[in-house]
């Protein structure tokens, strides 16, 4: 060990100074910097932490442990909040207009623009303040969670925020680390503790962290208070997997590496408690450094809105230009009575300087036409979205998960309508699609299938076929524990003895109990013992054996002890010891694992379990019938989404074994090519196997996932799975979720091909020959410097392969798409290839290939790659993307996508904290997207287009008037009419529509997922829609204006009096308010009481306003106008005639559209027009009434079709393979002797530790 320690000191960049265990996380600093992209360069210098000495640390002024994620504080709120508001072009525009309206060029008084603007700002700021308040509360909860800090030789429970650098803390089992800690001691033997990093990288398997030997004793407070160390370490940075530092303890310098560090956000598992000292606190912790400033996302609709607003601005400018030119032309001395001659105070009407007239008129007219840009639009939208998210999404009972007591949570209210346009979903696998819970589900022993369960996938399939399958209620006596979800009376409680082949059953159980690399932990009783397994699959299998009566309870380096209940001995329990002679380890090439063991009676057996393909190749000839039956069963299991393994055994004669063992030992000790040699040797003995049976493990999908995915894909949403898992696992899940089926053309781009491996081997063999194999990984980086050429060679080779594959597949895909077969495509790619495929030169090919595929699975991808892929689709294809995940490894992709959805519930909160929406289950996506998203989209489209319509109409009437006033910019309406038009007379109904309008009910939205496509295609808010609206606006404004004006040319009462400007404008405004409000009703799909109240109320509000206004303001032109009008027949005829004429065109358009070009939702409305909406029954399933269309689909679905040839394959994630190693593409194979060594270590250290505590 000391040897390499010296080496590490000389290493450049020297991170990762320790590899105390073979599980060491190793990395190459330079590479990680490149790969991670975002990793910040380290600050120069280093920090020195004086442990347990607050005074000494005080000088360094380290940040406290309190974190704050709020946007504002009391002081910055106003300036920053206003700045945020004025970042919106519209608000800035209105600010300018307001300023302009204070100048004499303005035809309107300042209130016209100032009142709406301040109202808008006020509402927005209140909303911001409210949201920030919620964030503050959240922070406070975190900051106030308590941690035990060592003070005066006692553990004091203090809030997290009091924690300071250098403090010694104690964290109990399942507790979260409050800061980045240096592990000093643990209650476990040899200073080991287990941490779960789910919060950081989403992995749920436990990582081992080990304290330095020197500090193991600081467990008790008395002892810990004596700890006076000094830590020299790097400055805070955001690289999760590196750490460099030294601990100076009693004048000894001990190097520290990432293995000694416990990161904030991780939690402690399987360890009673640990003691650690704080290195980084608060915002300087790695996890917080990683939390980028959450970029505020804006929805696509809003960005389109900006474009439309820009267009409107263009329209505004051209209107002003026309008016200004007219003004310059009109200005003439002859209109002397208008005082258009030289005068001192204003140049605006100086005929001798027409250019000035022109320029000033532009400003005048801009102020006059400013309402063309709807000022209250943004604030209305915000209000609508806010209510939508807080009242509807957060309160939806359909998205409430009662098991975890989690309702849905909309964390931002910006993106509701974006949910209605999602075309690509990027999903994490573990914890999102699956529960990350492997359960022994079924098995087949010598051709007999056992297990009564029905998988989620089968239920989904059955449901699609119209058969309602209730999951069989497990009998109460069924054993139910983690990893075991099996019930079949024929096998349980020793009943297997009565089965046709009890001997085979016994072999099956023994194989399960012996052939594995699991470590037992805890008390040796079936209830209390827990298995530490490399993969949950293995644990599930051993748990199964336990439940069948073969309880594996102890492991030593050479022995496995199994407590067997033998029924033939009348239920007697017998402890059997099996000598483990060899373990032939699992790896991804072999896809199998074998154990050679010797029974107590000297029988030599090789037990083997592995993928069906590899096992079948190695079976002894004969018993073809059994093989055939088993294969069919395997296929059935695969189809049901289960992960299968075949079990086989071979009796060995001592001679065969001895001769083989020699070769094995030789291979094991060889320095060159050891891996390959071991594999070759293994081949020699893993043959002539006898098939025992197979196991089926359910990688339990979350409830309703397959049907949810099916629904979503019918909605036209494409789902990509991005997972850190292996290719096989990912494929399994993809099959299980019905993302891939055998009808699809699959394109696989994998780095696990023989060619690539060959090239890699050439290099690593060379390395191996030069260096001692055990330290290969630790100094690989150094060595790589010498062998750059070979690395480059590998890289180039892979790049070429990927490039060729991509081009080949792309062409193939194109031909299939343009062909008539209609075959669907899927793409499977692994992280390493993805790295090359994401190269700028190949990116476009990758994009176009993947876009033509209906499902894409990326496996072995790093969090960064997840984000990159998301960004690729987002930017490259310009499609709306949604990322869903549950772990911290999904944070990048959640933030990169348009919409980030976090799964809240079991795992950490990182994903949720970064997300825009949090739901408890994947299946709630259906509700979130198809119901809330779609509605929000529809509603907001309506709201936005209505806003444009109403403001354009209003402004256009004003514009037409300009032509009749000598282009002087005389306003048609009173100031207050104009300023209240947006905020009172037309404000509420549109908000009501934005909240309550729905085309079809929630259940129908899910029943007809295809309706969602209109959102993807953005059918409700595109230029065509805007154009149509503009036409109607022009038409209606012409009607309103001209009718009002043209009909008033003569005396209008029997008294012969004439109406003035303000009378006519009041009449026109009345007509306008009625028209635009009624038009809103015409746009509604549903009219609730609130619609009528708000529309009626708005019109009424206008009348009330004018009745009061017309008597209060004596000095205005509008004085008494309404009362004058009320005395004329003209007024009543107008308010009947104008709205009807104005809306006739709309009505005709809608009628024709519905009649000849019905939209889908309209048809659905018609289909279900007689059905009353199920009130309160939304939680029940959709009725089983079939439409003819569905009947047709079901008929198709029931037709016999080719059976899936896919069989699942269990076994993945070997060992404690670190996330980073995966990321580097360095596979650190779990060596069998590691297991054994760990087992032996336990034995040794157990006793002294026990005595001490």
């Amino acid at each position: 060990m000391t040897g390499w320690r010296e080496a590490s000191g000389s290493r450049q960049g020297g991170d990762s100074a320790s590899a105390g265990t073979p599980l060491a996380v190793d990395r190459n600093p330079s590479m990680s910097t490149i790969r991670l992209g975002r990793v910040q360069p380290q600050a120069p210098g280093h920090r020195t932490v004086f442990c347990n000495d607050r005074e000494a640390n005080y000088l360094a002024k380290y940040k406290g442990n309190a974190v704050s994620t709020t946007k504002y504080n009391v002081a910055t709120f106003l300036p920053k909040g206003l700045y945020e508001q004025f970042r919106r072009v519209a608000n800035l525009y209105f600010l300018t207009i307001s300023c302009l309206s204070f100048t004499p060029v303005s035809p309107v008084s300042p209130i016209t623009n100032v009142i709406p603007l301040s109202l808008v700002l006020f509402v927005s700021l209140v909303k911001e303040a409210f949201e920030d308040w919620k964030r503050l509360q959240n922070d406070m909860t975190i900051n106030n969670s308590s941690v035990e800090i060592l003070q005066e030789q006692r553990w004091e429970s203090l809030p997290w925020k009091k924690l300071q650098v250098g403090d010694v803390v104690r964290v109990r089992q399942d507790g979260f680390f409050p800061a980045d800690l240096l592990l000093l001691a643990s209650t476990n033997p040899d200073g080991v503790c287990y941490t779960e990093t789910a919060n950081l990288d989403g992995e749920t398997n436990l990582k081992i962290r080990k304290a330095l030997e020197k500090t193991w004793d600081y467990v008790t407070p008395e002892k810990a208070s004596e700890f006076k160390g000094e830590i020299h370490c790097e400055q805070p940075n955001n690289s999760l997997y590196t750490f460099t530092g030294n601990l100076i303890l009693q004048k000894q310098t001990l190097p520290l590496g990432p293995n000694h560090i416990l990161l904030r956000g991780c939690s402690l598992r399987n360890t009673e408690y640990i003691v650690g000292t704080v290195i980084f606190t608060g915002h300087e912790t790695k996890v917080m450094m990683n939390a980028m400033n959450v970029p505020s996302k804006r929805s696509t609709l809003e960005r389109k809105l900006d474009k439309v607003i820009a267009t409107l601005f263009g329209v505004l400018l051209s209107m002003c230009l026309i008016g200004a030119i007219g003004s310059a032309v009109f200005v003439s001395n002859k209109y002397h009575y208008l005082e258009l001659w030289i005068n001192g105070d204003s140049q605006q009407f100086n005929p001798n300087n027409r250019f000035v007239v022109f320029v000033l008129s532009i400003f005048t007219l801009i102020t006059l036409y400013s309402p063309i840009i709807p000022i209250s639009l943004y604030v209305s939208i915000e209000m609508i979205k806010f209510i939508q998210s807080t009242k509807f999404i957060n309160n939806d009972l359909r998205m409430y998960h009662s098991e975890t007591n989690t309702p849905a949570l909309a964390r931002t209210s910006n993106l509701n309508e974006e949910l209605g346009q999602v075309e690509y979903i990027f999903s994490d696998k573990t914890g999102t699609l699956t529960r990350n819970l492997m359960e022994f589900f079924k098995c087949s022993i010598s051709g007999e299938t056992y297990g009564t369960g029905v998988t989620e996938i089968e239920i989904g399939a059955a449901k699609r076929n119209g058969v309602d399958v209730k999951e069989v209620q497990k009998p109460s006596h069924a054993v139910r524990e983690k990893g075991f979800n099996f019930d079949d009376a024929r096998l349980m409680h020793g009943a297997w003895r009565n089965e046709p082949n009890p001997e085979m059953c016994k072999e099956f159980f023994r194989c399960l109990a012996i052939c594995h690399t699991v470590l037992p932990e805890g008390e040796e009783s079936p209830e209390k013992l827990r298995y530490q397994a490399a993969s949950p699959d293995e644990a599930a299998l051993v748990t199964a054996a336990k439940n069948f009566g073969f309880f594996f309870y102890r492991r030593t380096p050479t022995m496995i002890y199994v407590r067997e209940s033998h029924v033939e001995k009348m239920g007697k329990v017998q402890d059997a010891a099996y000598e483990i002679l060899n373990i032939l380890e699992f790896n991804s090439t072999r896809k199998r694992q074998s154990v050679v063991c010797r029974y107590g009676d000297g029988r030599l057996v090789l037990y083997c379990k592995g993928a069906d393909t590899v096992i079948y190749e190695r079976l002894a000839s004969g018993s073809e019938e059994l093989k055939k039956i088993s294969r069919e069963q395997l296929e059935q299991y695969g189809e049901a989404g289960l992960r299968t393994l075949c079990l086989a055994y071979r009796d060995l004669s001592p001679e065969i074994y001895e001769s083989w063992n020699e070769k094995f030992i030789q291979a094991k000790s060889s320095l060159r090519d050891r891996e390959r040699k071991l594999d070759e040797v293994a081949e020699l003995i893993e043959k002539d196997l006898t098939l025992i049976g197979c196991t089926a493990i359910e990688d339990k999908l979350q409830e309703g996932v397959p049907s949810c995915i099916e629904t979503l894909s019918r909605a036209g949403i494409k789902i990509w799975v991005l997972t850190g898992d292996k290719l096989e696992t990912a494929i399994n899940i993809a099959y299980a979720c019905k993302l891939i089926n055998n009808d699809m053309k699959q394109f696989v781009i994998s780095s696990e091909t023989d060619e690539i491996r060959d090239v890699e081997n050439r290099v690593s063999n060379f390395l191996a020959s030069v260096l001692f194999i055990g330290i290969i990984q630790t100094i690989q980086s150094q060595v790589k410097l010498f062998f750059q050429g070979d690395q480059v060679e590998i890289a180039q080779f892979i790049r070429e392969t990927v490039k060729n594959d991509l081009h080949k597949y792309h062409e193939e895909a194109q031909s299939i798409i343009h062909g008539s077969s209609g075959q669907k495509l899927s793409l499977l790619i692994d992280g390493k290839c993805l790295m090359y495929a994401l190269d700028p030169s190949l990116r476009s090919t990758l994009l176009s290939l993947s876009l033509s595929c209906s499902s894409v699975v990326c496996c072995r991808v790093s969090p960064l790659q997840k984000a990159q892929v998301t960004r690729l689709v987002r930017k490259g294809a310009n499609k709306i993307t949604l990322s869903i995940g549950d772990g911290a490894n999904d944070v990048g992709m959640i933030q990169a996508a348009h919409v980030g959805v976090g799964i809240s519930g079991l795992e950490g909160m990182q994903a949720v904290m970064a997300s825009d929406f949090a739901i408890a289950q994947f299946r709630f996506l259906t509700d979130l997207l198809l119901v809330h998203g779609r509605w929000s989209y529809l509603r907001l489209c309506k709201v936005v287009s209505y806003f444009f319509y109403k403001n354009l109409t209003f402004t256009l009437t004003q514009f037409w008037y300009t032509f009749h006033t000598g282009y002087s910019g005389q306003r048609f309406y009173d100031d207050w009419f104009q300023s209240l038009y947006n905020v009172i007379f037309t404000a509420l109904p549109v908000i009501i529509v934005g909240l309550l309008d729905k085309d079809v009910s929630a259940s129908l939205s899910k029943k007809y997922p295809q309706l969602y496509k209109e959102g993807i295609d953005n059918a409700y808010f595109n230029w065509k829609v805007v154009g149509t609206l503009a036409c109607f606006s022009v038409y209606q404004s012409i009607i309103v204006y001209n009718f009002a004006v043209a009909s008033s040319t003569t005396g209008l009462t029997s008294a012969g009096r004439m109406l003035g400007l303000w009378d006519i404008s009041t009449a026109a405004f009345t007509c306008l308010v009625i028209t635009v409000n009624l038009r809103l009703l015409m746009m509604c799909n549903t009219v609730t009481r609130w619609h009528s109240i708000s529309v009626g109320g708005s019109i009424l509000a206008w009348f009330i306003f004018i009745f009061i206004y017309a008597v209060v303001f004596v000095n205005k032109g509008t004085y008494y106008t309404i009362y004058v009008l009320m005395g004329t027949a003209y007024f009543y005829l107008m308010i009947v005639l104008v709205p009807i004429v104005a809306l006739l065109c709309d009505f005709l358009y809608q009628g024709v559209q519905r009649w000849f070009y019905p939209r889908d939702y309209q048809i659905v409305q018609e289909i279900h027009r007689h059905e009353p909406e199920a009130i309160g029954a939304g939680l029940l399933a959709v009725g089983n009434q079939l439409t003819p269309e569905e009947e047709r689909r079901y008929a198709f679905a029931l037709l016999p079709r080719e059976r899936s040839k896919h069989t699942g394959f269990a076994f993945d994630s070997p060992g404690y393979e670190s996330f980073f190693a995966t990321q580097q593409g360095v596979t650190t194979p779990q060596k069998p002797w590691d297991v054994i060594r760990r087992a032996s270590m336990r034995q040794k250290t157990k006793s002294p530790r026990a005595s001490q505590s």
Binding site: K334, L1137, L1148, R1169
Partner: protein, 420 residues
């Protein structure tokens, strides 16, 4: 019997339960479950809560629960509440059901079916065509005589020099026009003057007035907007009343009507709106310094009469919406028989020649709809006609090419099954 004592983490739970017991008892031989629990609010004003409840404990069916909470807690736990859920979770985050939050508000879902379309068109047609006829007939009954006189009243020597004619003090501005009454005009006959191309709605013009000054004598110097007709010779102590361009350009042609030899009295009372004469124009505000400046705009005012009685001015001050407008001049309370010749003696004072304006004198009777105004009639008839036409078209379409309502084959994914 179940007895539980829970000590729970304060951080996570709003209402940690200190003590909870459920004891099954029998009342009249029927099973009941009594429960009591004590909870502790650490946040909300440290109020400890004690609750007692008694609920039926039948194996099936809804249970009836009587509960009592200490009064400090909320009032929604009334006694005798029907409780169909077997066990309400104490700290459930389950959203409460409301029709609003679940978006299940009762609603009327109108579907624009062809029937509705046709019916609406027919209804509009039925409403509008008679209305149009009514309006047209009203307009038809109105007799209107319009006579343009700005050119006619210009002596030949001044043709094309109307400006100098009108500005000269020496010219004779009297002009005699005759017109024939086409149909019988029953009293009252309204006399209007009509100006064309006179921009009474120009921004510069409209704002050049002071309503305050007009209404109240104490605001006499409120002449801010009236420039340049604000103060006489720029002297702030000599405000012009009424100030501003509007008043300054007061129309000052006069008409004298006679039928044969009989002079017809023109009644100039009551030609302005009541609201103007009574409120907007003060009865104690007298004209002052009006038309005393260098430039004389239009008519002058009698300084002995308050503004509220100067109805010509009031009418003029109610600015028109369009550059072509009529204003009421006066009324004649005698019938004019058909074919009678009316003589109008016009004092042609008002200068419209400078800006190419036109002047007309109009005699008109009124109907309930006002003056001669075919607009409404034509509009109603046209729209009614269009609606009728549309209705017929749609009926034909409905017959020839019906679209069955709610036919799933119209769904886009059925029309184009491969487009998925």
């Amino acid at each position: 019997m179940k007895l539980s004592l829970k000590l729970e983490d304060q951080q996570q739970n709003q209402n940690p339960i200190l003590f909870k017991a459920k004891i099954p008892i029998a009342v009249f031989g029927l099973p009941f479950l009594s429960a009591f629990s004590a909870t502790h609010h650490h946040a909300a004003a440290a109020s400890d809560k004690l609750s007692l409840s008694l609920r039926t404990h039948f194996p099936t069916g809804p249970s009836l629960k009587l509960s009592y909470n200490t009064p400090t807690t909320t009032a929604n736990s009334g006694a005798g509440k029907m409780d169909t859920s077997p066990k309400p979770k104490s700290k459930s985050k389950k959203p409460k059901y409301s029709r609003f939050t679940q978006q299940e508000l009762p609603a009327w879902k109108p579907i624009l079916t062809p029937g509705w379309v046709i019916a609406s068109f027919v209804a509009v047609a039925i409403l509008f065509i008679p209305a149009g006829l009514l309006c047209l007939s009203a307009s038809e009954r109105v007799v209107e005589i319009v006579d343009r006189y700005d050119d006619e009243c210009l002596p030949d020597s001044y043709s094309n020099k109307g400006d100098s004619f009108i500005q000269s003090k020496d010219t004779n501005k009297t002009c005699v026009r005759t017109m024939k009454v086409p149909r019988k005009m029953t009293a009252p006959v309204f006399i209007y003057y009509q100006l064309d191309n006179f921009y009474q709605n120009h921004r510069r013009y409209v704002k050049s007035r002071s309503d305050k000054q007009l209404r109240d004598r104490s605001y006499a110097d409120e002449t801010r907007d009236c420039k340049p007709e604000d103060n006489l010779d720029g002297d702030e102590n000599e405000p012009i009343i009424p100030c501003g361009l509007v008043a300054w350009s007061l129309f000052n042609d006069t008409y004298k009507l006679s039928k044969g030899n009989k002079v017809l009295d023109i009644n100039k009372k009551d030609i302005a709106w009541k609201s103007d004469t009574e409120i907007k124009f003060g009865s104690d505000v007298y004209p002052k310094n009006f038309q005393k400046g260098e430039l004389i705009g239009g008519g002058e005012l009698d300084e002995t009469k308050p503004l509220s009685e100067q109805e010509d001015l009031i009418v003029w001050m109610r600015t028109a919406a369009l550059p072509n407008f009529r204003k009421l001049y006066g009324k004649i309370y005698s019938d004019l028989e058909a074919n009678e010749t009316i003589t109008i003696v016009i004092q042609n004072n008002y200068n419209t020649y400078e800006f190419g304006g036109e002047k007309r004198v109009v005699l008109s009777t009124m109907s309930w709809l006002g003056g001669k105004n075919d607009f409404f009639g034509i509009a109603f008839l046209t729209i009614g006609g269009i609606c009728l036409f549309m209705a017929i078209n749609f009926i034909l379409l409905y017959v020839c090419k019906p679209r069955p309502l709610g036919d799933p084959s119209y769904l886009s994914w059925n029309r184009n099954p491969n487009g998925l």
